[in-house]
Amino acid sequence: MGLFKDSETFEKVLGGFFGLVGETPEVAEKLLASKLVIRFTYTDPDVVLVVDCSGDEIRVIPGDTEMKAEVNMWMSSDIAHKFWFGKVNLTAALTRGQMKAKGPIPQILKLLPAIKPTYAMYPRYLEEYGFGEYNIY
């Protein structure tokens, strides 16, 4: 049993956060420059979120399993939640199979510096948007 009680809650938490990231210019500009479409497939509870950076603004599309994505990432909802606190050893998670990634690896890696500021944003977001009970790391 994961930390989040159901898919709807996790989709609200992370989808909302991705939306906020998309409205944060210092991060959004770099993500948009990548032109990537990234599909995150989460398990326990199961959620799919597509982050589309191919246009003029970042779109977050829940539940879309059809749209063509250059990058696909799979992980548990708990690992994803911990990741956005900056508390997941990314290399270890990938080596140990806790996260899987498919797509142009160099382009994925280029996103790492871009998302650095979001680790500080996530706990603040949880508190401010009524998800304080999940602010655990």
Binding site: A93, L94, T95, R96, I105, L109, K110, L112, P113
Partner: protein, 627 residues
């Protein structure tokens, strides 16, 4: 013998004699190769008289390959050097990539044992059975790149195979205590000042050309395993990361956990950080990629700056450790200057970790008023001052002015500077810490403290295992993910890393980057397929344990005690901000557990009983003379 060349070359520079001896198959089976060979050979040479200075002719210098060097496979091109360190005064070994190890075996030798000291500059010429000591007057005083190019041009016979050079630069000749030795201009025996040992022996270089090959016991099995591993390599994001960005890819990962030291270990966050990250590297200095013998990963970078104050010609580019040491450690956000500093260190033959750390230490002394421009010869040694760092680094290589003080290493420099300078040191056993912060991973603190050679990140694969690059689910002590900022239970983890790791990267001499997709069983299988031996994980771990104790014992023989197993004040000072804010390793807790599990006395020496049990009776005898 499968996997081995079958001969060891012994060269005495004092008497100008060269001998070859057959590699004993029982010795090979018992010690595997690399550091297993080097530590045993070195101990045999010094056991009757273990008291000498590292720069005396009595200090042997040993080069050894393992059974895998010369095989065309990812991550097996490495080989080792071993000696007593002129920087620390303790045991030192280095693990080097490149092509020299493979070519030494093609020439017919598993290793070279160098003793004595030549009366004048000399180089060792090896071409299969033809081995000669020759005058190096022509090359003495020349930098590593020029020496390598000229020697290859002077001596190569293109119809008779390619040649390799392993050379020191002016820093080694000038006995800079962190001088390095270079193969092919870009692969270094970097840490602990081995270049100064060759400099003291007046040995400028070893030139090798070989036309033989390596006999593999079970080539079909090796090929089958290699085919099986192809998918794992193709799917490994770690391999893809080092392939695409080199080791500097770690800048974007290490920053998240607070592992990258900044401003001489005073912070782990910095607004200019991205200016020296992998993308800036790619944009500003990257020109190409290179690789070690037989390895398809190609993690080495080529770099160039065509114009401006930091211009340098196309050549080997900086690694992660160099970018951190001359970049974040000095708050230097000029990527081009870091490329230039790498070029200077490579040409002079200096360890970039110790050199960059020593410069950062000197900057702090300057900023805090312990030294002035009068001391530095007019250099305004301030944070962010790329020009000053470049000027000072050249002076260190030349042992000129204030550079001569820093050329002794930061600990000796702190003694000279006095006052609170020692508070700014980042050394363990006299070796400047590698660019990984024990406040972000407590296990690194224990690893630095108990390493026979000081605060080095490659003494065992602790760093790639803890930070996720290596994963061994088939070794229980290494299977569980370690909590980063927690000191509980770290001793068994470190011991397993050291024991299996001494086999892995020390004796078999695997590359801890290039074998990321392998598990422990597959690594052992590779050694078995090449040698025809039938090692198990348990057996190689036992061999690794014995060799680790031998290295620890050598440092003990040279005077290392429990007081040397400590982190400096700077690394034990909690940071106020950043991912590791407030965290310091509990060294007392970890050391207590470690000493008990390793059967160390309170003085940090392995108990006699454990050495006897490990079949190291002569070491036990020497350490417990008179009782």
């Amino acid at each position: 013998m499968h996997g081995y060349a079958g001969k060891i070359l012994s060269v005495d520079l004092t008497s100008n004699t060269i001998e070859t001896s057959p590699l004993d198959s029982d010795f090979a089976r018992r010690n595997i190769g690399g550091i297993g060979f080097a530590a045993n050979v070195y101990f045999d040479l010094i056991k009757d008289n273990p008291r000498f200075d590292a720069l005396d002719p009595d200090n042997p210098f040993v080069i050894m390959t393992g059974p895998l060097a010369g095989i065309k496979l990812n991550g097996v091109a490495r080989w080792v050097c071993a000696t007593k360190s002129p920087l620390t005064g303790f045991w030192a070994d280095a693990n080097i990539g490149g092509h020299f190890g493979a070519h030494l075996k093609f020439a017919g030798y598993d290793g070279i044992v160098i003793t004595g000291s030549a009366p004048k500059p000399t180089y060792l010429f090896i071409e299969n059975d033809r081995v000669e000591l020759r005058s190096a007057e022509k090359y003495w005083g020349k930098d590593v790149y020029v020496t390598t190019d000229e020697m290859i041009a002077d001596l190569s016979d293109k119809s008779n195979g390619s040649a390799q050079v392993f050379a020191i630069g002016p820093a080694g000749e000038n006995l800079v205590r962190f001088a390095s030795i270079a193969n092919d201009k870009s692969h270094f025996a970097g840490r602990a000042g081995m270049g100064a040992v060759l400099g003291s022996k007046k040995l400028k270089a070893v030139f090798v050309r070989g036309t033989g090959g390596i006999d593999i016991a079970h080539p079909d099995r090796l090929e089958t395993l290699n085919d099986k591993l192809k998918d794992a390599y193709d799917e490994s994001i770690f391999i893809e990361a080092v392939r695409n960005f080199g080791t500097v890819t770690y800048m974007d990962v290490g920053i998240i956990s607070g592992d990258i030291p900044m401003k001489n270990w005073q912070q782990t966050e910095w607004e200019d950080f991205d200016a020296i990250g992998p993308l800036a590297y790619e944009e500003k200095i990257l020109t190409g990629r290179k690789t070690c013998y037989g390895c398809g990963i190609a993690c080495k970078r080529e770099a160039e700056v065509k114009e401006g104050p930091f211009r340098f010609p196309n050549g080997p580019g900086p690694e992660y450790e160099t970018v951190a040491a001359f970049g974040s450690m000095c708050l230097n956000s000029d990527m081009e200057s870091i490329g230039k500093l790498n070029d200077i260190c490579n040409r002079y033959g200096m360890d970039t970790v110790s050199c960059g750390s020593t410069v950062a230490f000197a900057i702090e002394c300057f900023e805090r008023g312990l030294i002035s421009e009068e001391d530095t010869g007019g250099i305004s040694l301030t944070w962010r001052n790329a020009e000053a760092i470049v000027t000072l680094t050249e002076k260190i290589g030349k042992r000129e002015g204030f550079g001569a003080i820093l050329a002794e290493g930061s600990e000796q420099a702190a003694n000279r500077i006095g006052g609170k300078a020692s508070d700014f040191l980042t050394t363990v056993k006299g070796l400047e810490a590698a660019m990984h912060d024990p406040r972000s991973y407590h296990s690194f603190g224990l690893a630095y403290a108990v390493s026979p050679r000081g605060a080095c990140h490659t003494e065992s694969p602790i760093f790639p295992i803890q930070s996720g690059g290596l994963y061994f689910p088939d070794i229980p002590e290494l299977a569980d993910e370690q909590i980063a900022m927690d000191s509980m239970g770290k001793a068994p983890f470190i011991i397993a890393c050291q024991d299996f790791g001494t086999f892995l990267t020390g004796c078999a001499v695997f590359c801890n980057l290039g074998i990321s997709p392998l598990n422990a069983s597959q690594a052992v299988e590779i050694v078995n397929h090449v040698t025809g031996f039938d090692y198990t994980i348990d057996e190689v771990t036992d061999i690794g344990k014995r060799i680790w104790y031998l290295q620890r014992g050598l440092s003990n023989l040279f005077g290392a005690r429990d007081v040397d197993d400590r982190l400096p004040k700077r690394l034990m000072t909690p940071l106020e901000e950043g991912p590791s804010a407030g965290s310091v390793p509990d060294m007392d807790l970890m050391l207590k557990e470690y000493y008990a599990l390793r059967n160390f006395t309170g003085e940090g020496i392995p108990e006699k009983g454990v050495l006897i049990k490990l079949d190291l009776p002569e070491l036990a005898e020497l350490l417990y003379k008179g009782g």
